[in-house]
């Protein structure tokens, strides 16, 4: 697969503040790439630099192999779905969708045909003559999509487009977006701060923090093998145990933590004995026992229980002030609140040692 868009050593500054620091990124053709990160991490700025709305202070933006760093948005083969949709309030749905085609100077009948086609694609028939103000949030979202797709861009950019929708509609739209992306075969670059959204839709998730890329990869990879404490906490949930690495061998590290030692897989970052590290364990990997189990074991007391339908979460605290979460299936087992302490344990392979 070739890359449709490449960012090379991109740096962006607002005044003295560096918001993007020498960032490198490649967007493969036909891929659904999500930029994920907390607000202020530079993901929107990155997207806007691809779209041409910001010019990087240093570095290059390549689109289909050509340097477009200083090319204005109206001359770039990308289109953006804005966070607020930016539908033109004085134009009908059809006029909005046709806007980009008209700028290309496409003939009238071609435009009409393409508009019809797109309205079918985003499932908005019979809305052609409505004004944006007369549409629901989801409908506006679809018009914005259709409008951005109308020019058949090499790359479609989406800037948190689902943020304004309610939870149910949002989930629906996630699936629709994904299938739309498959149907068009275009590369999508999607920006969001919602990890669940990122995992649901993406081929590649790029986790960003403080203007840098923390880690990128397929959703499963990121979930299973987070390479930093940030990713482990931002994607899904993790329990963290801070400590010092005693020894590392055969991919397994032994970590000295308060009240004992823990064993876990080593992450990909090179670590040596004596380094400050954390052991990250997913809540669903934690097992409960009344006796001290073999291997990793923490003694703790139950703090609270919360029922979440398909699963429940139990929150424990140990003698060192650490809070440990455990997910379990409420259909399969019961946990009673009580005063007595219990043992929590997990397999070595279910934990991962990361730099602190």
């Amino acid at each position: 697969m070739t890359d449709i868009c490449v960012l090379r050593d991109i740096t962006a500054r607002y005044g003295d503040v560096t918001v993007i620091d020498r960032l490198n990124l490649a967007i493969p053709e036909g891929a659904f790439v999500t930029l994920l990160g907390p607000s202020g991490c530079g993901k929107s700025t990155t997207l806007r630099m691809i779209g041409g709305f910001e010019t990087p202070a240093a570095g290059q933006v390549l689109l289909a192999g050509k340097d477009v760093t200083h090319v204005a948005p109206n001359h770039r083969d990308t289109n953006l779905v804005f966070q607020d949709y930016a539908l033109f309030p004085h134009m009908t749905v059809a006029e909005n969708i046709a806007f980009g085609l008209k700028r290309k100077g496409a003939p009238r009948d071609v435009i009409r045909q393409r508009v019809d086609e797109l309205m079918q694609l985003v499932r908005l028939p019979d809305m052609a003559q409505r004004l944006p103000a007369m549409l629901s949030g989801g409908q506006r979202q679809r018009v914005a999509l259709a409008r951005a797709l109308a020019r058949d861009p090499a790359l479609l950019l989406l800037d948190e487009p689902l943020g304004a929708l309610d939870a149910k509609l949002r989930e629906e739209m996630q699936h629709e977006l994904k299938s739309l992306q498959r149907a068009t075969g275009k590369a999508f670059v999607f920006v969001t701060h919602d990890q669940e959204e990122a995992l649901t839709m993406s081929d590649v998730v790029v986790v960003m923090n403080k203007g840098r890329i923390e880690q990128q990869g397929a959703p499963v990879e990121l979930y299973r093998d987070p390479q930093s404490r940030f990713v482990a906490s931002f994607i899904g949930k993790s329990n963290f145990f801070e400590g010092r690495l005693q020894e590392a061998s055969a991919g397994i590290g032994r970590v000295e933590v308060a009240g004992g030692t823990l064993s876990a897989r080593l992450g990909s970052a090179p670590l040596k004995a004596g380094d400050a590290v954390v052991v990250a364990v997913r809540p669903e990997k934690v097992a409960l026992a009344t006796e001290r189990p073999q291997g990793n074991a923490i003694e703790a007391r139950l703090q609270s229980l919360s029922y979440k339908g398909a699963k429940s979460t139990a929150l424990f605290a140990d003698a060192f002030g650490r809070r440990i979460e455990m997910d379990f299936n409420p259909e399969e087992r019961r946990i009673e609140a009580g005063d007595s302490s219990v043992w929590l344990g997990w397999q070595d392979a279910d934990g991962i040692v990361l730099a602190a």
Binding site: G52, F53, E54, T55, A72
Partner: protein, 286 residues
């Protein structure tokens, strides 16, 4: 994102326009105020002088109308503030939304008539043979017509008729902007109508009051037609003095310009002070 040449092209025209046509006339006036004679008569050279300014301070016949103008304009501004604030308040918060435009239109309708015509209509109404006197005479309330024109009464009437709008609009806009839920919150926290007015509406409309006062004050200072047509010998305003210099034959323009510069300086200073004083407490509160 804007490329540099495009940005310059965008800015160049308005910059050129306002420098030439907004600043130019003021500078031209300033320049002339230092000349001995203008417009230049054939064969005379430009001579610089300060005499046009000293003429003002040398003679109290100029200082008095200047002070009278500033004091009267200031008082008229306060009067207008007191008169229009309740109106602005009523229109912004006391009229139902769908009726608001109608209420505003009715109030504004008279302002669509030009100032000269309105002044003229005031003379027809308040003159000795005007409508008001005629009614009062016929009702037997008066025996001789009551003289209402050519004094401070007619002058103030003219000012109120002509500049109420400039006071009303900024205040109305400011009160209108105050969200109703602030008032509801005030009510919820136990504030009565009086407290809600003084603790919420009044402080939050301060900016509108400041703008309105400055606008009206400047308009009052600058009006020529009102004192010329409605004023009397005891109420002559500085604008008339200035106007005279531009109408009298001979090289009086420089004097008129110098006096204009003085009036402009004085009135802008007072207007700025008014805005500062009215808005000051807000700065402290923050």
């Amino acid at each position: 994102m804007n490329t540099q040449p495009a940005r310059i092209a965008l800015l160049a025209f308005p910059a050129f326009w306002i420098l030439l046509l907004h600043l130019g006339p003021m500078l031209a006036m300033l320049r002339i105020s230092f000349l001995e004679s203008f417009p230049p008569l054939p064969g005379s050279a430009e001579v610089a002088t300060l005499a046009n300014y000293t003429a003002f301070f040398a003679n109290d016949v100029y200082i008095v109308p200047m002070l009278r103008t500033l004091v009267f304009s200031f008082s008229a501004t306060l009067l207008l503030l007191v008169l229009t604030y309740p109106l602005a308040f009523f229109l912004a918060k006391g009229v139902r939304a769908e009726r608001k435009l109608t209420y505003l239109m009715i109030l504004f309708a008279p302002f669509w008539v030009g100032e000269i015509i309105r002044i003229f209509s005031i003379t027809v109404t308040f003159g000795n043979r005007g409508a008001v006197n005629w009614v009062l005479l016929n009702l037997g309330i008066l025996e001789r017509p009551l003289r209402m024109l050519y004094g401070y009464f007619s002058l103030s009437t003219g000012i109120i008729h002509l500049s109420a709008l400039y006071m009303l609009m900024p205040i109305y806009a400011a009160i209108e902007k105050i969200p109703d839920n602030l008032l509801e919150a005030g009510r919820d926290l136990g504030a009565g109508p009086v407290s809600r007015f003084f603790d919420i509406i009044l402080p939050l409309s301060r900016e509108g009051v400041a703008t309105g006062c400055a606008l009206v004050f400047l308009a009052n200072v600058g009006t020529y037609s009102v004192p010329a047509l409605l004023g009397g010998p005891g109420t002559s305003m500085f604008s008339e003095t200035i106007g005279t210099f531009f109408h009298t034959a001979g090289s009086q323009w420089p004097v008129g310009s110098a006096f204009s510069v003085l009036l402009l300086t004085a009135s802008l200073t007072i207007a700025a002070l008014m805005m500062l004083v009215i808005q000051r407490r807000k700065g402290r509160a923050r």
